[in-house]
């Protein structure tokens, strides 16, 4: 594997008495999306700000494409594309005017700048609204334009800080596609999110961050595997089942049985059919059933003892 484009080693950052990052280490390679996953306040934005040269770590080192920060911040900025969590757009300017301005700020000129504007407009599917003031855009369109403004100069390193916060599903999908395109084109994409689904969908590697510490690093499957959790089946029957009903399905392990509510663990998904068959044989009627596969949220919970989000499953 090629040298990583982002190398973060033992980074410490404190705001007064509060330590935001404590000996954080990870690396990001080109051509893939690396998720920075953690709850609010875990240190994701601080990490991205340090890599984006907006903050200086108190200790540790950060290298971006061989440039050590903060000493070589200037050349590093040329290859970094930052998509901040907060929308960073001029609302009274049109999409094109915003993009033209930021392309100039990135050092693009003339034809090159115009081509870059057209390219990113197409990438985020805003080419039809290019000349409308941003103030008239929906939240999702603004998010897409926010992403476009950060990738005008074909950055080798893309830092995305919660890029889908508050967007509609259609826009989110557009953003996912754009991020995947960037990774396919060889960029090292560091994707900060607290949405487990996004990380699982996009990221080839995930860095789990909690309270300023890196809890675990690996592919989503590796992280889930670390938890030792298995698919969990939750059932609700019309009547309580007789004792010993599960003997017919030895692949399942009873976790909890209280009245008509039953929770089971299975080794594989096909084992669910055996469980249902056992219920039927015991004369039970399944009123409600759900299968929960272990995921990164579970992994996070197992690793940290608390949920990834305060309101798990809620979208902004």
């Amino acid at each position: 594997m090629a040298e990583p484009l982002i190398v973060v080693e033992d980074v410490v950052k404190a705001y007064g008495a509060r330590t935001a990052l404590d000996r954080v280490c990870f690396s990001v390679h080109g051509g893939m999306v690396t998720g920075l996953l953690g709850p609010n306040g875990a240190g994701k934005s601080t990490t991205l700000s340090i890599i984006a040269t907006l903050l200086v770590p108190d200790r540790g080192s950060v290298t971006v494409a061989g440039h050590r920060l903060p000493a070589e911040a200037r050349p590093a900025r040329r290859i970094i594309g930052l998509v901040p969590q907060r929308l960073a757009l001029y609302p009274t300017l049109t999409a094109t005017e915003n993009l033209e301005f930021f392309s100039r700020m990135q050092g693009l000129r003339g034809r090159e700048a115009r081509a870059a504007v057209e390219r990113v407009l197409a990438l985020v599917a805003l080419d039809g609204r290019a000349h409308e003031p941003v103030g008239q855009f929906s939240g999702g369109m603004r998010r897409r334009l926010n992403l476009a403004c950060g990738i005008l100069h074909r950055p080798r390193v893309v830092l995305l800080d919660e890029p889908t916060a508050g967007v509609d599903p259609q826009s989110r999908e557009r953003i996912f596609e754009a991020v995947e395109t960037l990774a396919r084109d060889g960029a090292a994409v560091l994707y900060s999110t607290h949405y487990m689904e996004e990380a699982q969908r996009l990221c080839a590697q995930v860095v789990l961050l909690d309270d300023g510490h890196v809890v675990a690093t690996g592919t989503p499957a590796e992280l889930v595997a670390q938890t030792g959790m298995r698919p969990r089946v939750e059932l609700r029957t019309a009547h309580p089942l007789p004792a010993g009903w599960l003997d017919a399905a030895p692949v399942a392990r009873l976790v909890e049985h209280e009245g008509t509510a039953i929770t089971l663990e299975v080794t594989h998904d096909p084992d669910v059919a055996s469980v249902l068959l056992a219920v039927v044989r015991a004369g039970g009627d399944v009123v409600e059933m759900s299968v929960h596969h272990p995921d990164l949220a579970d992994a996070f919970f197992v690793l940290t003892g608390r949920a990834l989000r305060d309101e798990d499953g809620a979208r902004e």
Binding site: T53, L54, A88
Partner: protein, 558 residues
């Protein structure tokens, strides 16, 4: 990249401003409205002028109906600072004061013109409402000036009459003196003619006397010559035998001498023994003289001298003396006295600063309120503009870009600077077209303080943005500072209305220097050089603000 980025940042900020209609109205329309209102409201501070005139109403009651009343009416009618309102009675004039329609009324009492013509004092009557201090003061000065003008006119007329009379007397005196001189010359000429005639007669008599004496002398000489010639002829005849005897005697004496000598020679040694010859007696000298003298001499000696002939004196001619001319006793014509009326003490007012005596109030208000709104615009444009960027998140994005953050800030300031300069130029152009403000002898020179104050204002906006980090803080902090700077710096009223200690404090404010330069160029009509020092101070202010602002802003956003 730097220049391209700067240009893009400037274009971006100009676009943002162009899309901000409220901001544009604030920059362009609000100052014009305030300037217009303030200009007309504060016109009385400078006296009325053609532009922005708000003349005071002056009730005027002419009870006199004479020359003084007419003169005052005419003079007040020509005065742009007042609108004359003729009233029939002084009671009506008093009512207008009491009902606040006017601050001062003027009454010319009956008989004023007549009294003045008779040389007796007269008084004008003025009714005032002291509460209307400025109006009363202004009109009182005006009335005093007119009164003085009328008095001066009367005095000048009297002086002119006296001068004319004296000139006439001088002409008559010169004529009299010329006639007297002529008379004296004629008398002298007659006296001289008489003296001359007498002298001529006396000279003629003297010449006649001399001619007669000469003729007598000639006649006497002729007679004496005839007589002498006759005596000489007779003497010659008488003395001829004697002369011959003496001639013979002389010859014989020479012969004897020669003989004796011969004898002595022959005697030789014996000659010494020879006895001397006998001596012959000498003829008497008188006889010898008779023989030797010529007859003329003898005649002269013998003839008695001619007795002088004395003619009897010519009778004296006693010429009569010329008649005595009477003396001219002309009286002296005294020089007419120079009548001098006591002089009137006038005031020659001349503007040594180049400012015209009557100011256009907008010459003060246009730059003053333009600066005020410029600074407020800068406060909104720079401070709130940067807060907007912070709120929009673009500031953070820009900080992560290759373009140095300082350059990004400078670009924003440059854009605002250009807008500020354009705003000032536009407001001055409106001031020129709408209110006829003066642009001074070198309008281009106005760019100097304009650039200076816009630079200082732009940089000050950055300082405010760095100090006040929220929109809620920017407006009160910036507004208080800017309003204070504008007021103390003389943007709203002439700085000379402020007490000296406040004027000293004002020197620390950029607004003071900007107004100093604008007043010098526009009101005092000074050349470009007058704006150099204030502009340098403004640029120094701007530089300090810029350094402080950039330092604070970078520190806060590090």
């Amino acid at each position: 990249m730097m220049l391209g980025g700067l240009g893009a940042a400037i274009r971006k900020d100009l676009r943002l401003l162009a899309r901000d209609r409220v901001g544009l109205v604030f920059l362009a329309v609000a100052p014009v409205i305030v300037i217009t209102v303030a200009g007309f409201s504060l016109a009385s501070l400078y006296g009325a002028s053609a532009r922005g005139t708000s003349p005071y109403e002056l009730p005027f009651c002419d009870e006199d109906g004479g020359r003084i009343g007419h003169a005052l009416t005419r003079a007040l009618g020509d005065e742009p600072a007042v609108r004359l309102r003729a009233v029939a009675t002084r009671a009506e004039a008093r009512d207008l004061i009491r009902t606040h329609h006017a601050g001062l009324a003027l009454v010319v009492p009956a008989g004023t013109s007549e009294a003045l013509a008779d040389g007796t004092p007269a008084r004008l009557v003025v009714y005032t409402d002291p509460v209307k201090y400025l109006e009363v003061a202004s009109l009182r000065v005006l009335v005093q000036e007119l009164r003085h003008r009328v008095e001066r006119g009367a005095r000048d007329r009297a002086a002119a009459g006296l001068t004319k009379t004296r000139a006439h007397a001088l002409v008559v005196r010169r004529r009299f003196e010329r006639a007297a001189d002529h008379l004296r010359r004629e008398r002298a000429r007659v006296a001289a003619a008489l003296d001359s005639a007498r002298d001529d007669a006396e000279a003629r008599i003297a010449r006649a006397r001399r001619r007669a004496a000469h003729a007598l002398d000639v006649a006497v000489a002729a007679v004496a010559a005839e007589r002498e010639a006759a005596v000489r002829s007779r003497l010659a005849a008488e003395l001829a035998p004697l002369q011959r005897y003496f001639a013979e005697l002389s010859a014989r004496q020479r012969d004897f001498t020669a003989w004796l000598a011969a004898v002595r020679e022959k005697a030789g040694r014996l000659a010494d023994r020879m006895p001397p010859p006998p001596t012959m007696p000498e003829p008497p000298p008188q006889v010898a003289a008779l023989a030797s003298d010529d007859p003329s001499t003898l005649a002269a000696r013998l003839l008695p001298p001619a007795a002088p002939i004395t003619l009897p004196p010519a009778p004296e001619i006693d010429l009569p003396a010329p008649p005595a001319l009477p003396d001219l006793d002309l009286p002296a014509f005294p020089e007419p006295p120079r009548a001098v009326l006591p002089g009137s003490l006038g005031i020659d007012e001349s503007s040594v600063t180049g400012a015209p005596p009557k100011l256009n109030t907008f010459d003060q208000n246009v730059p003053g309120f333009s600066i005020t709104f410029l600074l407020l615009g800068m406060l909104l444009g720079v401070s709130l503009g940067l807060l907007d960027e912070r709120d929009w998140g673009t500031l953070e994005r820009l900080r992560a870009m290759p373009m140095p953050f300082t350059s990004t800030l400078v670009a924003k300031l440059l854009a605002r600077f250009l807008v500020g300069v354009a705003q000032m130029i536009a407001l001055f152009a409106i001031g020129r077209l709408a209110f006829g403000i003066s642009l001074g002898p070198q309008p281009i020179a106005l760019l100097l303080p304009t650039i200076g104050i816009v630079f200082a204002g732009t940089a000050f906006g950055l300082v405010v943005a760095a100090i006040a980090r929220t929109r809620e803080a920017v407006l009160p902090v910036g507004s208080i500072v800017i309003v204070t700077m504008a007021a103390v710096g003389g943007c709203w009223w002439p700085i000379d209305l402020e007490p000296p200690w406040m004027r000293q404090i004002a020197l620390a404010l950029p607004t003071t220097w900007a107004m100093t330069a604008f007043n010098d160029l526009m009101i005092r009509r000074q050349p470009l050089a007058a704006a150099i020092r204030p502009t340098a101070v403004l640029l120094a202010h701007g530089l300090v603000y810029l350094v402080v602002g950039l330092t604070l802003f970078r520190r806060q956003n590090a």
